[in-house]
Symmetry: C2
Subunit: 266 residues, 2 copies
């Protein structure tokens, strides 16, 4: 992504069901791979992109951000990139916005925070419209208890108890800026905004709040679960299809607009 | 649908993109055909269903209603039918509810009213989540003017100006019970409830209100458009993918619950 060319940031929306995650992988259909191919076709030479976060296979995005350098030969004005790229992209991946950014912009490193939403469809029969964009759970859930438990997750702390075991990281300390539960039949949404996320962290937070909703944990148990640092003390990681990267927040100096008011749902 | 057996009503939700409409047709995948096959598999003999309305190819439903007679050999309690049939239905068709109904219940003839929603996505780039469930229109729309025009459609009158030309009908008189326009970025929804609908009537109403939103018609022009009885005086029929049958309303004596508060969106 270094080198010459016009530095631009692209705001991406994608339906995760058809992608093996964001990150380019040989032989797999990924968001990065499909986007780089579209950009390369338009530019007539390879264009590399960097994403703000690596969403897993099956995870959706309403406002993922990726940056790249457009070769000087590309004459399309930045504001026209969404439509110009739209003609080269499949229906499950859209460039919703494009913005000029400073040369030192880095989609991941420049980000202040990212917000994810975990969406639960609370009916016994999955919805034909939502089955791929929400996780179905028809059991009884005490939504007020879940909402009461959520603030315990806010703050700067070690989130080892809520991280997938797969990835060793130097530090599991992250700052959760907000965590809210909103229930409006037939949906329940868990929103988490943080300066960074560990592997499967939102899905583990959602699974832990679900345990509270089911009565298997009490809201007042959460601080001890976090302090234990033990993954087994928390709830399970919920499936990928309920998760969506809502938006990425940047300093105003980056030239990206403020995140939109989250649409409900999804 | 006549004859012996347990009379039940099924509340159906389906994603219209994969169906050639509701009505059974040889060689085509239709909602009726797929549902009758699932019922027949469960019952071990053919089961015919009747729908409250014949949605066109590509049109969705959140609360279509169909009725049938279940042979006496079927031991599944009515309340368990959604899950029992769910195992035999594809992911784009769900039986959301099942209810016992009186022997003279008729999904279409017993209905008091049906409500449809036409959903418009107001962004230049189609959403990967909504592209099949909403029609994209990015032009300027004066939503308050559309909302001001909508009440002119309410009442008992001849709707020839808003009917597809394909189908000759004995009478084009219908009663529109409500017609509302709701705009909430990035959506605009047009809801129409009536005791019956002519061919393409909601799509023509939506297209006519769109002309008001675009400034090509004024709200005060609508009464004259309706009185003219000329299809050409009204706006075009909008595409099927924006249309959804929200619910069907029955007298309390039929044993079906009141329609749910419409979910927003879709």
């Amino acid at each position: 992504v270094n080198g010459a060319g016009r530095p631009v940031a692209l705001v991406l929306a994608y339906h995760g069901a058809g992608f093996a995650g964001f990150q380019r992988q040989p032989g797999a259909r990924t968001v990065q791979g499909v986007l780089e191919r579209a950009l390369g076709d338009m530019a007539g030479r390879p264009v590399a992109v960097r994403g703000a976060g690596r969403t897993d296979a099956g995870v959706h995005a309403a406002g993922q951000v990726a940056d790249c350098r457009l070769p000087d030969g590309v004459r399309v004005p930045t504001a026209r990139l969404p439509l110009a790229l739209g003609a080269r992209l499949p229906a499950d991946l859209a460039v919703a916005e494009a913005h000029d950014v400073p040369p030192d912009f880095h989609a991941r490193r420049s980000a202040l925070a990212k917000r994810y939403r975990y969406l639960i469809w609370r009916r016994p029969v999955p919805s034909p419209f939502w089955r791929q964009c929400a996780w179905s759970y028809a059991g009884r859930l005490d939504a007020p208890a879940m909402a009461a438990a959520a603030p315990a997750l806010v703050g700067r702390r070690d989130f080892s108890a809520l991280a997938g075991s797969a990835t060793p990281v130097r530090s599991a300390v992250r700052t959760v800026l907000s965590c809210t539960v909103r229930a409006e039949d037939p949906w329940l949404a868990i929103d988490v905004e943080a300066d960074g996320f560990l592997y499967h962290m939102v899905r583990a937070i959602a699974g832990t709040l679900l345990e509270v909703g089911r009565g298997a944990l009490r809201p007042e148990d959460l601080p001890a679960v976090l302090c234990s640092g033990r993954r087994a003390a928390a709830g399970p990681s919920l499936p990928a299809n309920g998760l969506c990267l809502l938006f990425v927040r940047y300093p105003a100096s980056c030239g990206l607009p403020d995140p939109p008011a989250p649409v409900w749902p999804p």
